[in-house]
């Protein structure tokens, strides 16, 4: 079988499992991050600073292990971009933290949060403008605040970081192609999404700040989540797989009990998340619920989602319980403990993987992976054992590969009413500035002399380029 045939077979295997069906064998889709550096002979510092090395490492690792799907660069953060923008929220290998350590996100002290407690109204009024005017100057060592004198370094930071972002994004196309042609491996996800409540905690108010706000100004928090919804939904849809085969990555952070209480989950987290996941599904996109930590309190709630609309990824939940509670509706991935893969004995890995294959994968709808992304502490041998065990014991006698068709767009009647309650979602007035846009054409055109000829052409070019400004700031918020 040549690499292209291998690729087609693996894609069909992966997609069949994600649609909760039984393929020919259990697909393996490890989210390997700094592990690839260790395996391919690079340092954490090298793969974080030089994405070409990270790409090489991902291809080599996927090829040698023969995995079905991987993320083209799960280290993802590239310090070239982070440093050009002067981002304060990264601990960069070799700068302030050991060069042998993977990058870390830094949460500022509560009083120095990237968004302050009295700034909700400004965020709610126009989230994109808020990100540019308030958030970016605060998270950057270089960018000046609106109203303050611009500086040489401000101008350089904006130009360099936006060009760096394009350079980096454009490098992903060839990298996905390399995975396909050199390793026969599928790019595992496309698109990025985070829940409104999570992003408020992660990059705006901080977890502690948001927790305090939930006690003092819960209505403002809810309004902020609602204001973020159409924008986050837009980012997800515009970055999703156009062939509608691999899912949108949804990185779930602190929205679960006990980080929030059950009432807060019901009042804030879920009502501003569910309609977006349903909107994705309506467009034929599955969402990969990358459920970091433990989400067992919410399994019944997740069952409200349409069948197959998500793939539930198990981190530190009990994967056998996840299977019992969710497998009739959704495919499941993950569940092999990272600590075991890093510090366990090969026999433990073999036994646990066999048990997962026997009990969780038996009816299909399972993709083998560890609980969380794998860094350079993961054992090369243990990952080999996990892979070999799956290839040996993860074969179905009655499985079949689904034809490679896109997920058809579908409607989700139960959710229509809920979506309609939300600004900017189906059936509701659009936000003041629509998602995907910073400075609307309708405003810009008032400044221009009379337009003649092909007005739509002029508008379209303006809007296409204008959208890059929107992409820049929302990608900074969500991806970097």
């Amino acid at each position: 079988m040549n690499t292209e045939q291998l690729y087609q077979q693996r894609l069909a295997r992966y997609v069949t499992a994600m649609r909760n069906e039984k393929p020919d064998c259990v697909p393996i889709r490890p989210f390997v991050a700094e592990f690839t550096a260790k395996y391919a002979g690079y340092t954490c510092q090298q793969v974080c600073h030089d994405y070409n090395k990270a790409f090489d490492a991902a291809v080599k690792t996927a090829k040698d292990y023969g995995w079905d799907a991987v993320v083209p660069n799960m280290v993802y953060v590239w310090t070239g971009l982070a440093q050009a923008a002067g981002l304060r929220y990264f601990g960069i290998p070799g700068i302030g933290i050991p060069h042998t350590t993977g990058f870390n996100y830094i949460e500022p002290p509560e009083g120095e949060a990237w968004m302050r407690e009295d700034e909700y109204d400004e965020l709610i009024r126009d989230p994109t403008a808020f990100l540019y005017n308030v958030w970016l100057p605060r998270v950057s060592t270089e960018v000046s605040r609106v109203g303050e004198p611009s500086t040489y370094r401000n101008n350089l930071a904006l130009v360099k970081s936006s060009m760096a972002m394009l350079q980096y994004f454009y490098a992903f196309g060839p990298q996905i192609q390399r995975l396909r042609t050199e390793a026969g491996t599928v790019s595992a996800i496309a698109g990025i999404f985070k829940a409104p409540f999570d992003i408020l905690a992660d990059k705006l108010r901080g977890y502690i700040g948001l927790t305090m706000d939930m006690a003092t100004q819960p209505k403002k928090v809810l309004a902020a989540c609602e204001a973020l919804m159409p924008h986050l939904c837009h980012v997800g849809l515009t970055t999703a797989d156009p062939t509608k085969q691999v899912p949108i990555g949804f990185w779930m952070h602190r929205g679960c009990v006990p980080f929030v209480n059950p009432g807060q989950f019901d009042s804030h987290y879920w009502p501003t998340l569910k309609p977006i996941v349903e909107e994705f599904w309506k467009h034929g996109h599955q969402t990969l619920f990358y459920a970091e930590g433990k989400w067992k309190h919410h399994f019944d709630t997740f069952r409200e989602l349409p069948d197959r609309s998500i793939v539930f990824h198990c981190d530190r939940d009990d994967v056998f319980e996840v299977h019992r509670r969710l497998h009739d509706k959704f495919a499941i991935s993950g569940g092999i403990p990272n600590v075991m893969l890093s510090y366990g004995k090969p026999e433990e890995v073999r036994d646990f993987t066999r048990r997962v294959l026997r009990e969780v994968a038996a009816d299909g709808g399972y993709i083998l992976d560890s609980g969380a992304i794998m860094q350079d502490d993961t054992s090369v041998e243990n990952l080999r054992v996990m892979t070999d065990t799956c290839r040996e014991h993860g074969v179905y006698c009655s499985g079949a590969l689904l034809p490679l068709t896109a997920m058809p767009p579908c409607d989700v009647p139960a959710s229509i009413a809920q979506r309609q309650q939300l600004t900017g979602m189906t059936g509701r007035p659009a936000p003041r500035v629509k998602p995907g846009v910073c400075l609307p054409w309708e405003e810009k055109v008032k400044e221009l002399p009379e337009i003649s000829g092909d007005r739509d052409l002029i508008r379209k070019v303006w809007e296409d380029i204008e959208a890059l400004g929107n992409t820049y700031i929302w990608q900074l918020l969500l991806s970097f």
Binding site: P98, N104, A215, F259, N261, Y343, D377
Partner: protein, 213 residues
């Protein structure tokens, strides 16, 4: 004698302003600072821990209660120091080398303070040497190590080894915690205790303090 039940309730509800005002009143009325702490604040934090264990309280309620406790303690602590009252114990806390995550560590620190311990918070990315230095400087008897990443778990072992090499291992109890940590790992690296949550860390510290007393 003023009714102090509302102070207990204020801490339990996480009402910092009321907790502070009631503490002020109590001290003004001549109540001994140690009585305010032992009779009302610490029992309130014990109840917060109990409710967390029973899934009645969650991390937000812990944080709010710890805030209320802190607001009240700020008034009491200088008086305790002045009158020579020793804390239950001195705890050095920090996130280990290479790890910059601090939400869990901060929560443990706040809950320990609320439990009557003096806390020296070294922050994040703390080297073994810094832990040792702080233990010596503050004469601490407990060290609480935090790690969120599996990659930084070995730094916990390294820190414990460094205490051994410095000849200080027998003078301190070392507790570990953080998302990937398990009791088995704690045992493997020779830690004295592990808890999967902040109230559990306070319980560990109290058990140790009671044994040491």
């Amino acid at each position: 004698m003023i009714d102090m039940k509302p102070l207990y309730e204020a801490v339990l509800k996480g009402d910092a302003a009321t907790a502070r005002a009631l503490t002020e009143q109590a001290l003004a009325s001549g109540m001994e600072p140690i009585t305010v702490v032992k009779e009302f604040m610490v029992p309130a934090m014990d109840e917060v821990g109990r409710r967390f264990e029973c899934n009645e309280y969650f991390v937000p309620e812990l944080l709010l209660a710890a805030r209320a406790m802190k607001a009240a303690l700020e008034l009491v602590r200088p008086l305790l120091v002045k009158s020579g009252v020793e804390p239950q114990g001195r705890v050095v806390v920090g996130t280990v080398r290479g790890d910059l995550h601090d939400i869990g560590k901060n929560l443990v620190a706040a809950m320990l303070e609320g439990g009557g311990f003096e806390v020296v918070d070294l922050g994040v990315n703390v080297t073994p040497e810094k832990f040792i230095e702080a233990v010596k400087a503050k004469n601490a008897n407990i060290v609480a190590l935090s790690a969120l990443l599996t990659t930084t778990m070995p730094a916990m072992r390294a820190t414990i080894e460094a205490f051994k090499a410095a000849g200080l291992r027998d003078q301190v109890k070392i507790f570990v915690g953080g998302a990937p940590i398990t009791q088995k790992f704690a045992d493997d690296i020779g830690a004295d205790g592990y808890s999967e949550n902040a109230p559990g860390a306070v319980t560990l510290a109290k058990v140790h303090a009671a044994r040491a007393a």
